[in-house]
């Protein structure tokens, strides 16, 4: 019986295996291969062995991009998780008739295209005509008006804020589903025992939300590691590479500097770094569960 089922298994598995090979395995192998060449994107490629790797490890702009990427991760995880948690607890515990409206409102930016969001916030943060600076000036806080995207001290924060604004609704809904899974008897029992809403949130719901929080943290980490559109559209990675993540540096090397081999090298090394980070995070989670 088992022997007879093999042709069927192969028939059904083959399309998936072929597609996976074509769109996942082949690009990975191709990138590895291309990283050994100096290639301008057309014409003959010149084999230079591991020279791209040697250059990469000595390239301060690459390490700057790695640090920027890690900064995006480090800023986004606590801010996004914190806000999503507050919003989800507020919506679930408010017992307001408007809870569904609040949920939709907070989720709304998530359905907007990234390009539209970036354009909107770039206009709002414009140093001369932006709504943010105009508002600050109107309420007498003109000294706080800044070229938000044009100075290193605020540019990365502005991008993080825009990503948080856009994505926090998604994580709010994710955590909200976790909160709704908390048995209502547990919350009721706490209320009967005289616990306040704040105490219920911190001492009852939060410990039971560990799973959804971990999932949300991993999602945020993965999205922050591959951040591209927001810095590309809002600052182009500037000023002077202060908001340039690895993905944008790789794009610059390939499509602006026409160093496709070097861009492939960046991809390979960064994939290894991300793989290592993922292993560490999964290990930590495993240890946590034990």
């Amino acid at each position: 019986m088992r022997q007879k089922s093999w042709p069927l298994i192969i028939t059904f598995a083959l399309p998936g295996v072929l597609l996976y090979g074509l769109f996942v395995i082949y690009p990975v192998v191709s990138s590895l291969y291309m990283s050994l060449f100096q290639w301008r994107g057309m014409g003959a490629a010149k084999f230079i062995a591991i020279r791209n790797y040697i250059e990469l490890f000595q390239d301060p702009d690459f390490w700057n991009a790695v640090i920027n990427t890690l900064r995006f991760v480090a800023y986004q995880i606590p801010i996004m998780l914190g806000l999503a948690l507050v919003f989800s607890l507020f919506i679930s515990l408010s017992q307001s008739r408007l809870a569904a409206f609040y949920r939709s409102l907070v989720f709304l930016p998530n359905i907007l295209p990234i390009v539209a969001v970036a354009a909107l916030w770039t206009a709002m943060l414009h140093p001369l005509t932006g709504a943010v600076n105009n508002l600050l000036t109107a309420v007498g806080l003109g000294e706080f008006a800044k070229p938000w995207l044009g100075q290193p001290s605020t540019a990365i924060g502005a991008i993080v804020w825009v990503d948080v604004w856009r994505m926090v609704g998604f994580y709010t809904v994710l955590l909200l589903s976790g909160i709704l899974n908390v048995p209502s008897e547990v919350i009721e029992a706490a209320r009967v025992d005289g616990a306040t809403t704040g105490q219920i949130s911190v001492k009852v719901i939060l410990p039971l939300l560990r799973g959804p929080l971990q999932v949300a943290a991993i999602f945020i980490m993965v999205n922050a590691l591959k951040i591209f559109e927001t810095p590309q559209l809002m600052t182009g990675g500037g000023p002077n590479r202060h908001t340039q993540p690895v993905s944008l540096y790789m794009y610059e090397q390939a499509f602006q500097n026409f160093s496709f081999g070097y861009a492939a090298t960046i991809g390979v090394i960064f994939s290894i770094l991300v793989f290592c980070i993922t292993i560490v995070v999964l290990r930590l989670q495993g240890a946590d569960k034990q």
Partner: protein, 438 residues
């Protein structure tokens, strides 16, 4: 009902038979161009005229500000269009050195469309310089300056201001401008290539002469840390400290900063001759846009009449080596570079051209002011050739120049960084080097 359907089917078949021979004889010429400040309407108009002159030819013009994204896969797959003008973001140097473009020397020896000599004689000889290993690969029909300075003559006249002749005059003018609430410049902050060319290299040339630029781009050891480069970096910081730049300028893009200029909030803006066409919709009717050559630097060795030009490589016309209809492509290019079409382009876009005998068509006063300065200039330098050749190197250095302006580097640190990048490029034998002479 069945009969009606049969009759319609028969009619379609007969129509197909009648039409197909004509269709089969029609050749489609595919033209792909960068949709930027130089515009594409005049090309589309010329394409229609050319098709009218050649009933069996259709010319399909595709214009896109991101045309390089469409061109790259077409070249890689060996299926390029017949004619391209790829714009500034396409690796034209890589395409030429890799044999992707057809040498046009033979075609340039053939008669021009206007019938007054060879096609080569159509152009101003000195400007026909898209060359590699002695062969001509591109036709730079449009002449553009580099990142030169522009001002509003009316504003200067009304305020009784003098056009600055020396760098010291700029400081006096800055005081006068600030008294009226204006600044001298709004930089295109997020695009450092504008002010790297229009400010830094302009300063280097005025301080150290064109030779200093040649040495730097020919990667002579120590050139980037030499006195003209260091002094130009120091002068940049001095200008910043003196309040030359509009606050918030580092967050502006090119259209933002240019708009500030046309709104009268700044006295100057740096851009090429495409500026007028690019900003047409926001230029006030009474605005008197004029070219201003960079002021002379006190004690500087540089020719004060020298004008920064653009290499024009990205804006040139090319016939790919694998074009399907190369002869037709060349014939179309001859028509496109004819005096009639060129004059139309100059009238529509206010652009300057390399085609001889077309100056009478120049209606733009701004372009006329460039032409006047060109007639008085003893030399020109097209530094963008370096960017065409070493894009990675130049983008590193102009990002660092942005860093200088935002306080990431001191003048010395900036020059050392640029020198380290030059050294890295010099030692990289995988990159084909090129000799620059301005």
């Amino acid at each position: 009902m069945k009969r009606v359907a049969l009759a319609i089917a028969l009619l379609i078949m007969v129509a197909g038979v009648l039409v197909s021979p004509a269709m089969a004889n029609t050749t489609e010429l595919k033209v792909m161009i960068f949709g930027g400040g130089n515009g594409s309407d005049w090309v589309k108009q010329a394409a229609e005229e050319y098709a009218a002159l050649h009933p069996n030819v259709t010319v399909n013009v595709i214009a896109n500000p991101r045309i390089e994204e469409q061109l790259r896969p077409l070249f890689i797959s060996g299926n390029p269009p017949d004619v391209v003008s790829p714009g500034p973001n396409f690796d034209i140097w890589g395409a030429i050195t890799n044999g992707e473009m057809m040498p046009l020397d033979q075609a340039l020896k053939s008669p021009s469309f206007d019938g007054t000599g060879t096609w080569r004689e159509t152009f101003n000889k000195a400007l026909l310089d898209i060359q590699y290993q002695g062969k001509t690969y591109g036709i730079p029909q449009i002449f553009s300056t580099g990142m030169v300075w522009w001002y509003n003559a009316k504003l200067f006249r009304e305020n009784g201001w003098e056009v600055p002749k020396t760098w010291d005059d700029l400081y006096k003018l800055n005081t006068q401008a600030r008294a009226t609430g204006r600044y001298l410049f709004a930089l295109q902050g997020i695009y450092p290539n504008y002010y790297f060319g229009g400010l830094y290299l302009a300063l280097v040339q005025r301080i150290g002469g064109t030779k200093a630029l040649e040495d730097a781009f020919n990667l002579v050891p120590g050139a980037w840390t030499s006195q003209p480069f260091l002094k130009a970096a120091e002068e940049t910081l001095r200008m910043k400290k003196a309040g030359f730049f509009l606050p918030g300028t580092m967050a502006l893009n090119h259209t933002d900063s240019q708009t500030q200029f046309f709104l009268g909030h700044t006295l100057f803006v740096m851009a090429g001759t495409w500026l007028e066409g690019e900003m047409k919709s926001v230029i006030p009717k009474d605005f008197e846009l004029r070219f201003l050559n960079y002021p002379a630097y006190p004690g500087g060795k540089g020719d004060p009449t020298a004008i920064q030009t653009s290499s024009g490589w990205g804006g040139g016309w090319y016939v790919p080596a694998k074009a399907k209809h190369p002869e037709l492509a060349i014939d179309f290019l001859k028509y496109l570079t004819s005096r009639k079409v060129t004059r139309n382009m100059m009238r529509q876009r206010g652009l300057l051209s390399t085609v001889k005998g077309t100056q009478d068509a120049l209606v733009s006063e701004a372009s006329k002011s460039v032409l006047e300065a060109m007639s008085q200039a003893n030399s020109t330098y097209a530094w963008t050739k370096v960017n065409d050749t070493y894009p990675k190197f130049t983008s590193s250095v102009w990002n660092a120049y942005q860093g200088l302006l935002i306080g990431d580097y001191t003048a010395e640190e900036f020059c050392k960084y640029a020198e380290s990048q030059a050294e890295k490029l010099r030692n990289d034998d995988s990159i084909v080097k090129r000799e620059f002479h301005f």
